[in-house]
Each structure stands twice: as C-alpha cells, then as structure tokens.
C-alpha cells in the first residue's frame, strides 16, 4: 500500500464513495470487513479490516500442554483442521525424535487428502454462490457430506476432529475406513463431470473469472501467497513437494501449476487438485498396511528439549507452519502459527484495484479465505 493511499484513508476525500463490505456480508464468508472506495463501480482502493474474531490463540497455547495445543489448531482453519493438527504433531515428533509407525503416516496422509477434497469442495460450492450460481452450493455440500461421514465414523466428529496427537492418532481408524474411502473415491469421480458442466465450462463463468484479479509470480512470492492461490500464478510452493513430510515422499503425484494467475487459474488449480487428491487416495488406500498400530510410545507428559522447532505442512489453503520455542517445560514457551490466509488476504487489496465490485467478489472468492485462520 502506498503512502498516498494511506493518506487517503485518513483524510477521506468528499467525492470518495466508500462502501463497507462486511463484517456481515454474503460474499466475505465470515467477519471480514473490506472498506472499498468506489469510482462509479470501479474500485479505487480497498482496505481489509480484520480482528473481529481474534482469540489470542498464540497466547492461549502458552498455557496448554502440547497435547492440548492440538485442539486449538482445529479452530483456526476449520476446513483443514486435520492438516493443522498434523503440523503441531510433526513438530513435536521431530523435536523428540520419535518415529511414528508407517501405518500412522499413511492414515494421516489419507485424512489430509480427504480434508483437502472436503475443503476444496466447500470452496467450489461457495465460489459458485459468490458468482450467483446458487445450485453449486447444494451439489458441493451433498458430496462433501460423504467425506464428513467418513470422518464421523472414525473420529466421532465431522469438522473439528482433534484426531492427531503427538506420536500418532487418538484411536485406530474404523474397520470400514478403507472400504468407505474407496467408495467415496468412486462416487466423487462420477460427480466431477457435473462440476465441469455446471461451472468450469460455463461461458458466463469464464467471462466472470478469466483475466480477473491477475497476480503475477513475483507478486505472489512477494506477498507470500501460497497454496492453490499461489500455484495459480506459477509459484511452485506445494510443501508436499518442496519439503516432503510424512508419507508424501513415496507418493506419486504432480504439483498443479497454472501460469495465468487470474481467478480462473486459481479455480482450475483447485479443481485439478481435487482430482489429484483422488489419485493420491487410491495409491495410499491400496498401500496402507493393515497392521502396525496407531501410535508410537510416548511419555504421558511431553516435554520438548530446549530449542526452536519449525514445521511446515501444506494445508488446503497454503503453507501452514508452526514455530515452537521450547524452554524444556511441558508448555511451549512461544508458538507462532504461520497461517496461509493471513498472507493471502492482503494481496486482495492489490488485486481489487481497477476492477468492479463483481470482480472484487470473484477475486475474493478465488483466494478462498477462511476468516478464523486470518485472525487466529
């Protein structure tokens, strides 16, 4: 943001037509407030205001043991709760140099990919709705329900399942887990053509998203935009490839990269990632060992050796990283959660300028923001 813009914010000019999108607005998907200055319908500048649901998680985590921190990470990016859990677990396991059983790695990766599909699916539904295609929302929800049913069967909860724990998993997965996952893969493969016909190929949709909110690679890197949004600009930032963790070294998959950098490229990245996740699921489910337990041996009270630990994982919306500073106690001395949406949000104020309100909505939707993850 240039200084000129900031001056404008403070000394609002009389002719500026300022509308507040949010904190309650259908297309901001939560309590995000965008202060938009318009010239006609064209956006002159846009300032995001955040902090409406800041819960001080980093401070709360300083009073929680490592096992208790897990349930806080659920509530940041609630759509990829499992992946967030895994970041903390991996950081603790790396610090303690615990080797988790092979089976746990497989199950974690399966759940990661299921979460990713569920998350992208919800995004697809909501993105369609942002653009006015209301039916997509129900089709997306219908298919996401199948993933949530698998979650519910194994973990007992559908969204915020604190299923990971340092050293492994809370329980073993349900005996039907493998079967139901395969069934879901088959079911979802059948439904994907509907998605394609309904939205991906639609000429109105193309007009609404192609060339809208163009972000080049340099901007993406400079703003730290990761995940599907960054990969839509050709920024190779898939942590599963860049710094593999868990079982991902053994899995064969490709990183989806598009170079256009517009909303449609970001859309395509997510659609392709859903298909790629299905491929990964097929590999993992067939290779998953039946035996091997679900947790490594851990002490009842976990104390990390003094030091600093950094763990990155690929959440559904980008790079999620945990930075733990330990002083050898059972509580972390300081935890920093590097959440993907925090970095992704601020590029919006650059992308929105020059477009019209409808473009702002499309760009905001294509960045796939989850507000609790921004505020933490």
């Amino acid at each position: 943001m240039s200084e000129e813009t900031i001056k404008k914010i403070i000394l609002k000019e009389d002719e500026d037509y300022i509308i507040n999108m949010g904190p309650q607005h259908p297309s901001t998907h939560g309590v995000l407030r965008l202060e938009v200055c318009l010239n006609g319908e064209r956006v002159k500048y846009m300032i995001p205001h955040i902090g409406y649901i800041h819960r001080g998680m980093e401070k709360m985590a300083e009073f929680n043991t490592y096992k208790q921190v897990i349930h806080l990470t659920d509530r940041m990016d609630y759509l990829s709760a499992h992946i967030n859990n895994e970041a903390v677990c991996l950081a603790v396991e790396n610090a303690l140099e615990v080797e988790v059983p092979e089976r746990v790695k497989y199950i974690r990766a399966i759940l990661d990919e299921l979460s990713r599909i569920a998350s992208h699916n919800l995004w697809w539904s909501a993105f369609g709705m942002d653009l006015g295609a209301l039916t997509t929302f129900f089709y997306g929800m219908r298919d996401r329900e199948k993933v949530l049913a698998i979650f519910e069967e194994s973990f007992g909860s559908r969204l915020l399942h604190s299923f990971n724990t340092p050293g492994g998993l809370m329980h073993d997965v349900h005996p039907n887990f493998r079967k139901h996952t395969m069934e879901f893969v088959k079911y979802f493969r059948k439904k994907l053509p509907d998605y394609k016909n309904l939205l991906t190929d639609n000429v109105i949709f193309h007009n609404r998203t192609k060339g809208i909110g163009v972000m080049d690679k340099e901007t993406a890197i400079n703003y730290g935009v990761t995940g599907p949004s960054g990969r839509g600009s050709g920024f190779s930032c898939d942590i599963r490839k860049v710094a593999p963790y868990g079982i991902y070294e053994k899995v064969v998959f490709r990183e989806i990269l598009y170079r256009e950098g517009d909303s449609f490229a970001r859309y395509k990245v997510r659609m392709d990632e859903m298909e790629e996740s299905l491929n990964i699921l097929e590999q993992l489910v067939s290779d998953m060992p039946e035996e091997g337990g679900f947790t490594a041996k851990m002490k009842p009270v976990i104390k990390l050796p003094e030091g600093e630990y950094f763990q990155r994982v690929e959440a559904a919306r980008g790079e999620f990283a945990v930075f733990i500073v330990s002083k050898g106690e059972k509580y972390p001395y300081r935890i920093k959660f590097r959440s993907p949406n925090f970095s992704n949000l601020f590029v919006l104020s650059k992308l929105a300028v020059g477009g019209i309100i409808a473009d702002l909505v499309a760009t905001c939707g294509s960045l796939d923001l989850v507000i609790p993850d921004i505020d933490r």
Partner: protein, 364 residues
C-alpha cells in the same frame, strides 16, 4: 368449434353485463364492472404471486436435491401464506435521512406497473379485461414503468448498496427494452396486428413458433433471454445481486413493502411468460396437428384456460431453470451481451422475418 364455445367465457361475462345493465343505469353498471374486475384481478394477483413463490421454491429445491418447503400444510403448501403473514406483521422501518415520501411510494409504483399489465392479457377465450387495438404495445409500455419504481427505491433509501443496485437496474432495463420490443415485433409482423385477440386468433391453425419457421423460434429464444433480463431475474439479477450488493435496491425495505417488491418480481415473471405464450405459443389455443382430426378434437375438449396456464407455466419453468443453473453476469458483460449480441441478432432476425412474410414463406 362448437365445443370451444362451451368453454368460452364470453357467455359468462356478457350475462353478467346484461344483468347489471338491467338493474342499474349504464354508467353505474360500468362502474360496478370496473370494481368487480379490479377485485377479481387483485385476488388473482395475490394468489398467483404466492403460488409462484411456492413453485419457485419447490422447483429450485428439486433441482438442488432438496425437498423444499414441507412443514406448513401438506407439502408445505401454506408456507408462502405463512411467510406473507410474517411479513405483514413485521415493523416497517424507514431509515434515517431517507426521502420518506419517495421511499414509501416506490413499492407501489413497482406493483402498479405489473398490475396494469395483467389487464390486457387474454387468459382464455373471452376472458380479457380490455382488448386494446394496440394491446401488445400497451403491455410493453406499462411493464417498463416498474424500473421507475426501482430507481426511486434505490435513490430514496439513502443506502449505497441500494443506489448501485438501482443504477444497474436502470442501465439494464433501458438496454433490454430494445430487444424485447424487437422480438415482440417479429410476431406483430407475422400476424399483422397489435391487437392481442387478433394475434391469438391468427394462431388457430398453428402456433407462430411452428408456423414461422426458424426465425420465429429464434425470436422466441431471444425473447426469453431478454425478458428474463427485463424482469431482473437470475442470471441477470444484477440489481439485487445478493453476493455483491446484499439485496440491491430493496436492501432497506422491510415488512409488507418488501413483500410488494417480492410479489411484483414474481408477477412480472408471470407476465412475461404469459406474453410469450400469447405471442409464440398460441395463447389459449389448443395444440393441433394438421390432419389428425381425432387428436385435434380431444385437444379441443381441454378448456382454453388450462391451455393458457399450462403453456405459461412451462415458460415459467424454463425461466426458473435458467436462474438455478447459471452464474450471474457482470454489469458490463450484461450490456455487452445486449448491444453486441442480442440487438444485432434481433435486427437481422426482424429483417429476415419481413422477407419471410413478404414472400409468404411461412405456413398459412
């Protein structure tokens, strides 16, 4: 043709007219007729509006793999009535610094505009309030009055979202008025009359959509698209684009004033569907296939009012089908679509139809 006369409403209406004239002086009889017709139309308007809301909710529910309203009454039939009662009981909020007079006036303008258009619609044989000799021109003129109400609503609300919505609506309707007019003109050329009863009569031996070859079919498709835009329905619902402007021009309205906007929107949908039926699908004329005498006679047994409403609801369904499938257009794309695609196509189509009519290439 004898059978058709049984179902004709003209016997009913003329008998009422006669009996009224017998007991009253002529001017009083005319006045009573005005009042009677007004009451009948008001009831019809309200009930049909409620039914359309219910229908829309059911159709979109089935499209979206849902059941839809199913709590109030059997299959949720009284859901919309319950909603109406709720809206009636709600507080009417006028926000600060709003232009009170215009703010209260706007919903009435919108609803009167759509109410006036019903007058010229032929619902069945002999069931038409007024058969103007420029009937189709009258309907187009009156139905575009509604935009004045929308503009007033947006301006007087003292809300930024409302203003943007109203301005969008203004731009949209001014543009699409042209295409609606031109595609209606196609049938006026075919039938050589602007009088609605004449247009319907001209389709006794075949509907224009079949008689008029491809140009008429093309005009029908163009009419559907432009009419959908004209009544601010999805995918052209920019004036109230929910995800952008929360509710557009009626953001600040509550209670029964909001209900007026809502009802007018659905009734406008009915009116454009009814016009499409009258012009392209033969109005209340039954479906005939040349040479199949038995089939045609069976078709004649079905009352004309059922034919009219059946066809209208098919068109309404198609309009709903659009809405629940497509994403919304952007305002500049919407105007592009009109000025770069629909209007040129319509002009070309009008020229072709003129030649078709001049050379007598259509079925007579």
């Amino acid at each position: 043709m004898l059978l058709l006369d049984i179902y004709s409403f003209s016997t009913l209406t003329s008998s009422i007219d006669e009996s009224l004239n017998n007991v009253m002086v002529p001017w009083l009889a005319t006045l009573t007729e005005f009042v009677l017709v007004g009451i009948v139309f008001l009831l019809f308007y309200a009930l049909l509006g409620l039914f359309l809301v219910y229908l829309e909710r059911k159709v979109c529910a089935v499209i979206q793999n849902r059941i839809g309203p199913n709590r109030v009454g059997k299959w949720g039939m009284f859901q919309t009535i319950a909603d109406l009662i709720k809206l009636l009981m709600k507080e009417l909020i006028t926000i600060k610094n709003a232009d009170k007079f215009l703010f209260n006036l706007a919903p009435f303008i919108v609803i009167i505009a759509s109410f006036m258009a019903i007058a010229a619609l032929p619902f069945a044989k002999g069931l038409q309030a007024i058969d103007l000799n420029i009937g189709i021109f009258y309907i187009i003129a009156v139905s575009s009055l509604g935009v004045v109400g929308i503009l007033i609503a947006g301006w007087s609300s003292n809300s930024k979202y409302s203003l943007i919505g109203a301005m969008r609506s203004g731009a949209q309707i001014i543009s699409y008025e042209l295409s609606v007019g031109l595609s209606v003109l196609a049938i006026v050329i075919f039938s050589g009359s602007m009088q609605i009863s004449t247009i319907v009569e001209s389709q006794a031996d075949g509907w224009w959509i079949f008689k008029g070859h491809l140009p008429a079919l093309f005009a029908f498709v163009l009419y559907l698209i432009t009419a959908t835009a004209e009544i601010n329905r999805g995918p052209f619902d920019l004036a109230e684009a929910e995800s952008e402007l929360t509710a557009g021009f009626h953001t600040e309205y509550s209670g029964i004033k909001f209900a007026f906007f809502f009802l007018a929107e659905y009734m406008n949908m009915f009116i454009v569907a009814a016009i499409a039926t009258t012009l392209f699908l033969g109005g209340w004329m039954p479906f005939h296939i040349g040479g199949w005498e038995g089939f045609n006679q069976i078709m004649d047994y079905i009352p004309s009012i059922i034919w009219f409403f059946g066809k209208t609801f098919v068109v309404i369904y198609i309009i709903m089908w659009f809405k629940w499938t497509f994403p919304r257009l952007r305002i500049d794309q919407l105007l592009n679509l009109e000025w770069k695609y629909l209007l040129p196509l319509n002009l070309i189509n009008t020229v072709i139809i003129s030649f078709v009519v001049l050379l007598g290439l259509y079925f007579k």
